[in-house]
Structures are given as structure tokens and as C-alpha cells.
Amino acid sequence: MALQSLDIARRSATTTPAPGARQTTEVAKLIDVSTCIGCKACQVACMEWNDLRDEVGNCVGVYDNPADLTDKTWTVMRFAEVEQGGRLEWLIRKDGCMHCADPGCLKACPAPGAIIQYANGIVDFHQENCIGCGYCVTGCPFNIPRISKEDSKAYKCSLCSDRVAVGQAPACVKTCPTGAIMFGSKEQMKEHADKRIRDLKSRGFANAGLYDPQGVGGTHVMYVLHHVDKPQLYSDLPKDPAISPLVSLWKGMAKPLASLALGAVALGSLFHYVMKGPNEVSKESEREAEKEESQ
């Protein structure tokens, strides 16, 4: 059946429990980096399907274009030239939302219903509910969501939830010329990954493996990597991603504290939001926080 509102597993800033009687299959997208030629068909198909057109940028000395994710670019190819054992490898990774089982963005999001996790695993942003606070950015261990300068809403890959809802594969998957991107149930994708990993091992990639990081409960976008022991080689794919301590703290300790003891501040905070708009304070404090974290 189609995935409509009822198939929601989790909803940001919402205490109402999600309905759980229906069982839908968990889906996953598998990106086999070892057969990816970095052609950007996925980027183009993504923009075309989702009616997005980013700026025509510049060449900055690399093949990466657009140079980074934006509100209008939900996936980019990241190109890395690395030498491994005297042999040049051009590691090209399709970057975009990982659709975590335990989504930091959703946990961090204060706007009810702005971030939804469907029962099939897709984590989707609903811009009409987004207040543009940017906490999803902090919450994301993969640095994926981007806030639009035009409408102050957060955007990212939806895993083509509209296509998946009618039984189709995401646009990037369908278009992929070499079949480096596959889509199916998470179980099928793990099986396919196994086969690919065995093939890679037979070709001398002893550390080939599946990237399905457990720090975020596993993901619904997984990678087959030739060097799963060194994900950083692939344009800094995090080795052990986990939800930012800020979000964990809020969930574990600060939430009850905040709810019970700081009610007055809560009201003030809401007024602040209503009066001043969402962006200024949060962005600034976020940058500060990031800086402090990285120290």
C-alpha cells in the first residue's frame, strides 16, 4: 500500500505516539562506490525530478559541481584522489542524506511535524512546518541539511518519498548508468552488498565492506566501500558517526529539566521566535557550538 500519513514512525517535536499496527518493509538505497563512475546522473535526475535548479557556479579546480550541498542541491558527487599502496584510486562518493534509523535531525527539530520518519525508514522534511531554526543541521552527524537563504526552510534528500510511495525507485537510483545505486528492501540491499563485497575481496580489496553505521542505528542509505576501514578516504565520510552530544543531551537530560524547571524561559523562547524570527540567534550559537565541539 501507499505510504501515507498513517505510516509515520516518528514526527519531530511531537509527543503523540505513532500508530504501529501496520508493518511496512524497510527500504534502503545502496551505493556501491566501487562501480560508481561519478557521472552525476544522480545529481541531475534528482534536480530534474524534484524541480530544483541551483546556480550555474564556477570551476574551483575540482570536478565537484555544485561544490557542496545546498537547499537546491540535495546530492553531490565528492571526488577524492588518493594513493593506496602506490596505486592511484579515484574515490567518488555520492553524498546526501543517509536516512538514519535514529535520525539526529528529527530528534533535534523543535518544529512539530517538520521532520517525519516513515515506517519504511525514509526521513523526510516538511518545509511547510519548518521554522528554519537550523537545529537539524546541528543534529545531523553527516552535515546534510541546508537552510535556504530565500525561504529560511531546511532542505535535503527525500529519498524521493513521492516515488517510493507509489512503488517506484528514487530518481537517482533509476537513472544510475552503471547500477552503482540500487534500491530495494534493506534486507535485499544487504544481500546485494554481500555479493559485491565478496567480489571486491576476490579482486584484492581485503578491507571491502558495508557502511551501515550503528552509531545512528544503521542507515537507509548504505555504501559498499573498497576500504571500509578508512571511510575518511572518501571525502571525510565519518568513521563512527553519532548524533551530536547536544541532541543526546537534550533527549536524555535537558528535556525533562527544560520542560519542568524552565517553563518561564520556554514561554520567553517562544515569544522570541514569534517576535524575532527563527534564524539569527540559532545560527550564531550553532556556529559557536560547532567551533567549541571541534576544539
Binding site: P110, P112, G113, G179, L246, L249, A254, S259, L262, A289
Partner: protein, 195 residues
């Protein structure tokens, strides 16, 4: 894990924002989550082929309307044709972007001429364009056509005119062009096959 003062402030305000908004009436009922409507549901689907490289991938072109008399078909999405045994629904970045080729602002829409020495284009009608070009061609052909060579062999050629034929045109257009050119006695013909 260390939490700085600023982080603590942020954690609290983030949490508060969330729970407060929910508690104060911005309830989930006002925040339904439906996926974006599937935009191809009733679109007209036409089978065609990508014109770029010689893999000649199958494409499905989606246009508005149902071919009824009063609706003008407008192409709004193109994706791969899964039936095509070679491409099996895939398209490279060029093929995946075909919509923007069809819709390019740089498409030509009407005949134009740039007169000798002029600095600009001038829009003209098809009739005028065909008439003026044909006049040029006839004058050129009548002045330079060679019926016999020096040895008296019939050669019937027009050596002062050339034609570069498109490899993006269909077989039918290519064949007709070739037939017409030979009919006129043209020998200067080439195509991208060589380039």
C-alpha cells in the same frame, strides 16, 4: 562529555522551543505529513530516444494533457525507458537532463537573417527565408554547375556548395537530405561521423 555554557543554553532553548510549540497549540494535527503528490499519475507518456550518444537510450517523455483536442501537450519530465534492452531505464547526466534541452531558453523559435555587414539578426517568415535561400542556391548552381569535365565525361556536379548533415537527425531526414543533395548535383557533403 563536556557541555559549555553556551551549549547548555542552546540545548535548553532547542528543547523548549520544540516542546513549547507543541504544548501551546501548534499541535500535530495541524502538521500532517503527506508525501509530495506523484506528478506523473495522469500524464501522457511517449516513447522516444535520447539524441546524444550512440547508446541511444530509451526515454519516456511525460507531457501534460491527454492528447485531447483542447489541451496542448507540454513536456515536463523525461526519464529512462525500462523496456529498452540496452539502457534498461538508466540515463546518464546528459540524458537525465533532457528536459532542460527541450526547454532551453536558447532554442530557436523563428527564422532569422543576418544581412551582409550587419550587426544583428532580423526575424523573417519561413516563406521569405526559403525563397531567399533558394534564390541564392539557384544563382550559385546555375553559375557554377559542371556538366562535363575537360575530357568530355558527363559529371553533372555542383562544386561550390557544401552541406554538413546532422547526426542527430533521424534516418529518414538523413536519407531525404542525401537524396535531394545528389539530385541537385552536390558533392560537398559530410557529417559528424568523421569529426
Amino acid at each position: 562529555m563536556q557541555v559549555t555554557r553556551r551549549q547548555f543554553f542552546k540545548i535548553c532553548s532547542a528543547g523548549l522551543g520544540g516542546s513549547s510549540i507543541a504544548m501551546l497549540g501548534y499541535s500535530p494535527t495541524a502538521a500532517l505529513a503527506e508525501v509530495r503528490a506523484f506528478k506523473l499519475a495522469k500524464a501522457t507518456e511517449t516513447r522516444n530516444m535520447c539524441p546524444y550518444c550512440s547508446v541511444s537510450c530509451g526515454v519516456l517523455i511525460y507531457s501534460t494533457g491527454d492528447k485531447s483536442k483542447n489541451s496542448k501537450a507540454d513536456i515536463f519530465h523525461i526519464e529512462g525507458d525500462p523496456d529498452n534492452p540496452v539502457s534498461r531505464g538508466t540515463l546518464c547526466p546528459k540524458g537525465a537532463g533532457l528536459l532542460d534541452m527541450v526547454k532551453s531558453p536558447n532554442r530557436l523559435k523563428y527564422p532569422e537573417v543576418r544581412e551582409p555587414g550587419s550587426n544583428e539578426w532580423k526575424r523573417i517568415s519561413w516563406d521569405e527565408a526559403i525563397e531567399r535561400i533558394a534564390k541564392h542556391m539557384k544563382a550559385d548552381r546555375d553559375a557554377n554547375f559542371v556538366e562535363k569535365n575537360d575530357a568530355g565525361v558527363t559529371v553533372n556536379r555542383w562544386p561550390t556548395f557544401g552541406f554538413l548533415a546532422s547526426s542527430a537527425a533521424g534516418n529518414e531526414a538523413g536519407y531525404l537530405g542525401k537524396k535531394v543533395l545528389r539530385g541537385l548535383g552536390v558533392i560537398g557533403i559530410d557529417t559528424q561521423a568523421r569529426i
